[in-house]
Symmetry: C2
Subunit: 156 residues, 2 copies
DNA sequence: CTACACAGTGAAGTCACTTCACGATACCCC
DNA sequence: GGGGTATCGTGAAGTGACTTCACTGTGTAG
């Protein structure tokens, strides 16, 4: 996708910074999507795998809340993931209504690959950048994120 | 949507920064989407309006290339936008195959509203942040974006 | 035991997006 | 002028991610 936000002309430093942030968001998202597509997972599916990889085996409802989507949606995503042999649904040991979702071996190795890809990318992105500049950049990021969160009160 | 990338534990500064960038991308995207939804446009539709607002009246194919999507997709999006009275399709003055798309009055005022919302947000995001820190942050952003682009060669 | 809350899923629909095929037009070369 | 070919927009059909609503089966509190 093209830049979509390449505002030309003069604007305030803040406006310019915001534009750059949008640009970052798009570029980063696109690149990420590409990397995942190469490994055969979409963004939504990868989100599920990621959540499982971080939170361990979990109920479908837990996944839904964690991802901020409908339980029904999780069902569908899991159907696909299970079909690909990346994920396994087992009966919950104590609650017979629920299913416990966990990564299979293939699922685990895929998430590991994704993670290492991410690390590699992180390394490449900041090489040669002075340590303190990275720190300053990150600090700025965190401040901005914090303020953004403050502006987005709901269940985000 | 929840964070999705809240990697806990120790990691390199670069890895941490990357995580923050993902967080930014998501939070920013979500907030943006919310703001647009309040005004009754989706992200894709807003992209079209934005392009028109920047580039002036344009052919549908031009819009498609500019947005990086299929011409067919633009047709559909425009059908909706036209139905909402935000956009107008007129015969191209010299090329009878093509249509010239332009914003209607309502379309212009909507994009103006979106733009002012964006500016307001930009202002709120960086208030109280020392001017030079904003500059440093933006510089970091630009460097990162440049490197990202270098890693994503195709028609992006 | 009853009433109610909660887990997962079928059915149906929306939205953004794609590919393929097609009719209408523009353009270029002989 | 006439024929070949590229281009503009769009119908048809399909995908993936998402939603809401209705429903079954199960836990749980009174």
């Amino acid at each position: 996708m093209k830049s979509l936000h390449d505002t030309p002309g003069e604007q305030s430093p803040a406006g310019h910074a915001l534009d750059r942030m949008f640009e970052l968001a798009e570029t980063l998202g696109a690149l990420m999507e590409r990397g995942m597509a190469e490994r055969g997972v979409s963004r939504a599916r990868a989100g599920l795998l990621w959540a499982l990889s971080h939170g361990g085996p979990m109920t479908q409802r837990a996944l839904a809340t964690r991802l901020g989507v409908t339980p029904r949606n999780v069902t569908g995503l899991l159907d696909a993931l299970e079909g690909d042999g990346l994920v396994r649904r087992e009966p919950h040991p104590t609650d017979r209504r629920a299913l416990l979702v966990s990564l299979t071996g293939r699922g685990r190795s895929l998430t590991a690959a994704l993670r290492s890809g991410r690390d590699e990318m992180a390394a490449g992105l900041f090489t040669g950048m002075p340590r303190e500049q990275v720190a300053a950049f990150t600090a700025g990021l965190e401040l901005v994120i914090e303020r953004l969160r403050a502006a987005a009160p709901p269940g985000c």
